[in-house]
Point group: C2
Chain length 506, copies 2
């Protein structure tokens, strides 16, 4: 038996004073970072090789280093070699700038480290998560006694919606028998072609296979075609298949299109199908007074995925799933290990979040959402979301008035557009392919330049640039530089790469 | 078109000065919390009703509140109504105390908010995650060119191992056809009865159903019976079934048992099966010099799940999956949405973590692990892990020397035991059931008292108390109070609840 000292020394321990000292330093560094952010390049210009040389591909260190030194190094690296989604000119993907209070929330959560898997491990954290979920539901007009869970992001939220639907609609003991219990490959899900790849991942990972997706076409606004949806469901039912779920999009990832959720709900009701809405991006826009009618129909959905780390501007990771009837969520996910012995109160009054999703141990990601909602209030969020949308509309206008740019869509806070050299006929086949190539190169050069950051979409085989403003730091001045910047880069690249036979077809 | 001011006001924005002010306050509060932690009750004594009254079940607030006030309130609530796994006397479940530098890492990560889904969104964060994964592999003797990913915890890590195995071993196009493509319900997984519930969740969620688990019995040390494993695989193959995966435990959740991984590897090699090891708890103990041989066999596993938020003492959430051959991981998880347009360098040199797992957007949970590994060095970790194990062995000794306590197991840093009143015959049936009841009540009263916190296990139908020391703050003095405390409470409850017909059977 080894000898012990009463005082154990643990190299990861920090005394309260050392923690305070290190904490102040990190806070100072972050404050300076926030101050300098608008003047930094949005993204670093560096290759993987260069960066690896800077970090150094070392072996696992044997000895520890000073806390201060390590934190300084981490701050130096992060403040330099990151693509800053908190920058006022970051409009790529759907990654929002992060509310600073959210970072302080994460600090507090990680310091106390509640395990929000079970009530008695984290009484107050569990209750705050439950309150946060009620607030989110209230904000988008959903019933506040719904089931819900904070998760890592949109994929996981959608996966939970999918699995809850599958369990609710499978008419056999799917837990025990698996999909084989259906005796035929028949569980079918319906989604528009604009649906995010989570749906392919879901059917693959959860064992249905991509054959089980019925892809429905979209109209010119990238919204699902209701007639096609209805007729495909009908045909499948007549063929003895088992449709179980329809996916509606509340803000498609490419263009922010909102599917006709009202009509989809009618179809689902008629056919006993689960309506899941992927509102990861757009659902929070249901809170603003002039939200589209179809966003107001969110309340009919059986489940909704939505991402506080998008339009509530909290730091990664914070996704959320809401399920109208909480018991379906528990049906799909609850297991009781023998070693879990949580004091259960009166039936129905306990809440142990490990029963609601994939995870057992869970961090307290709800805290940053709760703090941000309290800090801004729902009025504050309505304003910020409406500002983002109005900026996107303004961007549409100024892009559209530029003769070298074609604007393809504007919905929610997403605007898509592309550069077309003035002396070219955009409608010939050869030119179409050239324009795709040109705009792809333009995108890379634009992003590498560090003056602004956008991403892309593919709309009717056209490669387009896509600015998605989920950024409370973006002002009108920030976006007004974009048309000229894009045009400049476009003209430059065009002058270098245009094939001889495409010269001046006009 | 709305009017804009050039200066947008966003209620979630904080000026650098306000951030500094708020940040200092939070740091101060945490420093005081760390200082007072050992003198706090380990867990709060409060009911759900009381707590809800304190928090208040309010509606979503319309107006925002002051940042300072909100953070004060959050700190007040969290420092009071939480079960503190950072307390020196917390030995429940397998939830470790959290290294303070980890919380500062989360603060830094959330402030910069890199999206570690793709290299060009988070160059330095991606490289730090890659380095962290190499370090973790190196620490446990695994190949450092393995594939790997940081995830939320043990369940997700095990799920990824499971799905990677399934894709690698399915001989048809499972992505497209799903499980139905196997033409028979035949994919089978083998695991000991002591395996964590993740395995039931996995087969359920991923569509195989619990019928696809072959439960293998364990010996008296809760290790899988190799002969039974081998003969079941043989019988299933002869019956035309499709065994694909064997699960080994490197630290079972109940007693810390380590399965005979060396022998399991031989069986897997012979039968072309995937060996996945659930080392969520125990894998890091492979780093210590006198690690059991079977832990050293981790290097043979096709995949390993392990939790830095357990024995690397980082705050929740930090799980990790390692896969020997990285291409299997990508095969199982990579999808390329049209709107993802990441600059790919030379084949094989790029790394976009969205291709490795469930998530697309990902936070920077690797940072806290990287910081902690640098702070303590692997030597520091070897010491802390060995100290935990030695404390657990010492606990075994002092429990065993107490005549009112029966000690059932000691492995890694888990000790299991129960209270047996001195005047009772533990071997009669009636008494067995009474002892279970008695020890369950004892557990609740112990934990509610706030002097220490343990959880439970069920071993051969005996309800036992279980102390798992994954706590760099625990000293010998902390554990030496446990036998007496348990005995005191046991005697008190026994005197109140023992049925008349069980009185003094000795």
């Amino acid at each position: 038996m080894p000898e012990f000292n009463n005082e154990r020394t643990s190299p990861v321990e920090l005394s309260p004073d050392d923690f305070r000292k290190a904490g102040y330093k990190v806070v100072d560094r972050i404050a300076s970072f926030l101050d300098s952010l608008p003047s930094k390049p949005v993204s670093p210009e560096i290759t993987r090789d260069e960066l690896q040389k800077i970090i150094g591909i070392q072996s696992l260190p044997n000895r520890g280093e000073s806390t201060e030194k390590i934190l300084e190094q981490a701050a130096d690296l992060l403040f330099k070699y990151t693509t800053f989604n908190g920058h006022p000119k970051f409009w790529g993907y759907i990654t929002s700038s992060a509310a600073p209070i959210g970072a302080l929330g994460d600090l507090l959560a990680a310091s106390v480290n509640p395990n929000v898997g079970a009530w008695n491990l984290s009484p107050v954290a569990t209750e705050i998560e439950a309150q946060t979920i009620r607030w989110i539901a209230e904000m988008i007009g959903y019933r506040t006694d719904c089931g819900g869970l904070m998760v890592s992001g949109g994929n996981m939220a959608n996966f939970i919606g999918f699995l809850t639907a599958r369990k609710a609609k499978a008419k056999w003991d799917i837990r025990k028998e698996g999909l084989a219990g259906s005796k035929a490959h028949s569980l079918l899900v319906y989604a528009s072609k604009e649906t995010h790849t989570w749906i392919q991942k879901a059917v693959d990972l959860f064992g249905l296979g991509t054959d089980s997706i019925r892809w429905i076409s979209v109209d010119e606004k990238q919204k699902i075609l209701i007639d096609e949806l209805e007729s495909k469901i009908k045909a499948d039912k007549e063929n003895g298949q088992h449709p179980f779920m329809v996916v509606g999009n509340a803000g498609t990832v490419s263009t922010g299109a909102i599917d006709p959720l009202n009509k989809m709900y009618e179809i689902c009701k008629e056919n006993d199908l689960w309506l899941h809405v992927d509102g990861a991006y757009g659902a929070f826009a249901a809170a603003i007074p002039d939200a589209p009618d179809d966003l107001k129909a969110l309340k009919f959905a059986d489940s909704i995925a939505l991402d506080p780390h998008k339009w509530l501007y909290v730091p990664l990771e914070a996704g959320c799933i809401l399920v109208q009837n909480p018991s379906f969520l528990i049906d799909a996910f609850s297991y009781h290990p023998a070693y879990y012995n949580f004091i259960t109160e009166e039936e129905g009054s306990s809440i142990n979040y490990y029963e609601f999703g994939f995870q057992n141990s869970r961090g307290f990601r709800a805290l940053k959402v709760w703090l941000s909602l309290k800090q801004a209030g729902v009025d504050g969020y309505k304003k910020m979301i409406a500002d983002d949308i109005n900026l996107s509309k303004h961007l549409y206008k100024i892009l559209d008035s530029n003769p070298n740019l074609e604007v393809l869509s504007q919905s929610l806070s997403i605007t898509t557009f592309r550069f077309i050299p003035p002396d070219i006929d955009a409608n010939s086949n050869k030119v179409s392919s050239y324009l795709n190539d040109l705009n792809e190169k333009l995108l890379h050069q634009l992003n590498e330049g560090g003056e602004a950051f956008v991403s892309n979409a593919v709309i009717e085989e056209k490669f387009v640039l896509r600015a998605c403003i989920v950024n409370f730091r973006t002002t009108i001045e920030d976006i007004e530089m974009l048309p000229e910047l894009v045009t400049e880069i476009g003209i430059e690249i065009d002058s270098k790469i245009r094939p001889v036979d495409l010269k001046s077809n006009k």
